[in-house]
């Protein structure tokens, strides 16, 4: 039975040469209870949801409305193109020394972020995001639980994160941020003393690099006062799938995509964020904080 399932999975995976297709059609009716993909899922993963192609809505009117919104977005983009870089005039682009990227004042600002925690891999942390008092900040709060899920392969657990949704332009094309005018990130936060990790994802061209993240740490103070934290981009180090890489390079800022904040240690946590912005810190002269020369030169 298991062998037949594997055979069927194998056939569907390889797209089938005719021999496999024949076999598939022969044993298919016998295995009508199995699915076309592996039925193992991680404990915290959501149960099978509808395939994306089952969500297709063939309503004509909705299609026309969708097309109209996308075309109006495209028209706006075309007009912005003639105004200058990113729709602002060149003088604004060249003179700006600060820029507010995400400011949390309403629910739609919160909708630009996605929260996640180790529930995805079967852990027990909880994380929530809501607007703070008077709609003046976003409050990311929850409980971290470093208890490792017992699935035999996970060694660590306990993380919560808040990720920015990638910006999409017209027709769902990826929009990149151009941060080349700036050299630091600027947060106005009120934490509870816990350290956070800030990650930047620059959309890479090759799939080998899709797990590349540039990370650094944000140490919050915990007091009742708001803090302004500046993290220069020169401090971000490169890691891939969580492993810090040997050969480091500075993050190139002309094509960044998204942003994560994460944490790790047991217990409750709270982080209030007023806004996240960029800063061109004139006093910061460092180009890159880590050594870039070859550390293991061949003899």
């Amino acid at each position: 039975m298991a062998l037949a399932v594997m055979l069927r999975n194998g056939a569907s995976f390889h797209g089938g040469c005719c021999g496999h297709q024949v076999l598939l059609s022969l044993i298919g009716p016998l295995l009508s209870t199995s699915k076309l993909y592996s039925s193992y899922r991680r404990p915290g993963a959501e149960p099978e949801k509808k395939q994306s192609w089952q969500n297709a809505d063939f309503s004509f009117k909705k299609g026309i409305d969708h097309l109209k919104t996308q075309l109006s977005l495209l028209k706006k983009e075309a007009q912005d193109y003639f105004l200058g870089p990113r729709g602002h005039s060149l003088s604004k682009h060249s003179l700006e020394q600060t820029r507010v990227l995400w400011q949390f004042r309403s629910q739609e600002d919160l909708n630009k972020w996605v929260i996640s925690s180790d529930v995805e891999i079967g852990g027990k942390s909880k994380v929530y995001l809501k607007l703070g008092r008077n709609n003046q900040a976003a409050l990311l709060y929850g409980t971290l639980n470093t208890e490792v899920p017992r699935d035999g392969e996970t060694a660590y657990s306990g993380y919560c994160s808040m990720r920015s949704r990638p910006a999409v332009g017209s027709f769902n094309r990826k929009k990149y941020y151009d941060w080349s005018n700036f050299n630091s990130l600027y947060f106005r936060v009120r934490g509870d003393g816990r350290p956070w990790m800030v990650n930047i994802y620059t959309d890479p061209y090759f799939s080998h690099q899709k797990d590349d993240l540039y990370s650094y740490f944000m140490f919050t103070r915990g007091g009742p006062y708001w803090e302004e934290i500046k993290i220069p981009f020169s401090k971000f180090f490169l890691s891939s799938r969580g492993r810090v890489q040997d050969s480091q390079h500075p993050v190139w800022l002309d094509k960044t995509l998204g942003f994560t904040i994460g944490d790790k240690v047991d217990g409750p946590f709270q982080l209030e964020i007023d806004f996240i912005g960029l800063l061109n810190d004139r006093a910061h002269r460092e180009e890159f904080a880590y050594e870039t020369y070859d550390k293991n030169t061949p003899v």
Partner: protein, 346 residues
């Protein structure tokens, strides 16, 4: 980079270029092109940065495809006519495939998409090599086969290149991408006159190389990789900045600077060949290019922003300024009055 390795790469570039431009047989020409492609790859990916590796990979894939197409077209021609002589390219399909292949090699629209990304991922001097030396062998091949090429695809690609180079360069803030788009538009000018007067193609290429080398070396002195850094160069090297202004205007094709010469001669030749609409189209499209040259000139010289830069290299120029900049800038600004001599030498 290791000086010996650098020597090997630069020598290979010169070798590949020389082999191609001095060859009579298609296979030698193709071999020279391949040597060029391989030699410049380590120069593009000198810094082992993901963007540089991405640029090198994109460059390799497009150039390898184009080389394969060149070989394919010469094979079709050899199969049809029985000889491999570059100047005897008579089979029409072979000529069409060759045109496409060389358009891909050069970066003519609609095969230009790799060019800005590759320029953005490579250092400034490698960008210079990409715009000048790497263009010489394909243009030499076009020059040698120009009598047998079909004008229609060439003219279409040329006008499209000038227009697209102008439009796409409008909104850029990275100087290397702007220079890539300027290269694409100049290639359009070079291509449109190829079938009518190939000497003008070569003249345009030489003058473009001089101007663009002057520009790249100037930008390299001040390491101006984006517009904001360019805006602060007035304090570091004011005379060089003034020269940069003139070089940019020359690239844009404004009289009385040198850059006007090729454009003038090309429009004159097109008009003589009864191609006035093409001449109008290409002149109007190059106005778009004028906009971003003026924007570069505006950022470099006319604005005096009150800020400094966050780039440490701006404060001190590490190496002495290359004397080549002076020679090339002078040439790119003052050659217009000796036009008759240039025409006689064509």
């Amino acid at each position: 980079m290791n000086p010996q390795a650098n020597l090997i790469f630069i020598t290979s570039l010169l070798l590949g270029t020389t082999i191609t431009i001095s060859s009579n047989h298609w296979v030698t020409a193709w071999a020279g092109l391949e040597i060029n492609t391989l030699a410049i790859l380590p120069l593009i990916s000198k810094h082992h940065h993901p963007r540089a590796i991405e640029a090198a990979t994109k460059y390799f894939l497009t150039q390898a495809t184009a080389s394969a197409l060149i070989l394919f077209s010469s094979t079709i021609n050899a199969w049809a006519t029985g000889q491999w002589d570059i100047t005897q390219m008579s089979h029409p399909t072979a000529c069409l495939i060759l045109t496409t292949a060389i358009a891909m090699k050069l970066g003519l629209a609609p095969f230009h998409f790799w060019f800005p990304e590759v320029m953005q991922g490579s250092p400034l001097i490698t960008g210079l090599l990409l715009s000048t030396i790497m263009k010489l062998p394909p243009i030499a091949l076009l020059f040698m086969t120009s009598p047998s090429l079909d004008p229609t695809p060439l003219t279409t690609m040329a006008i499209l290149s000038v227009a697209l180079g102008g439009w796409m360069g409008l909104n850029q803030t990275q100087t290397r991408k702007i220079l890539a788009f300027s290269s694409i538009s100049h290639l359009g000018w070079m291509t449109i006159i190829l079938v009518h007067n190939p000497n003008l193609t070569l003249l345009n290429f030489y003058l473009y190389s001089i101007m663009t080398t002057a520009l790249f070396l100037t930008l390299n002195t001040t390491k101006a990789l984006n517009l904001s850094t360019l805006m602060t160069t007035w304090a570091k090297s004011p005379a060089l900045n003034a020269a940069l202004l003139l070089t940019l205007l020359s690239l844009a094709g404004l009289p009385p600077l040198t850059g006007f010469l090729p454009k003038w001669l090309i429009i004159q030749e097109l008009t003589k060949q009864d191609m006035a609409p093409a001449a109008i189209a290409i002149s109007l499209s190059s106005l778009l290019g004028l906009f971003f040259y003026l924007r570069l000139a505006y950022c470099a010289t006319i604005t005096l922003p009150p800020h400094t830069t966050n780039h440490t290299k701006q404060w001190r120029i590490n190496k002495p300024v290359s004397p080549l900049i002076a020679i090339l800038t002078t040439m790119s600004v003052l050659l217009l009055p000796i036009t008759p001599m240039i025409l006689a030498a064509l």
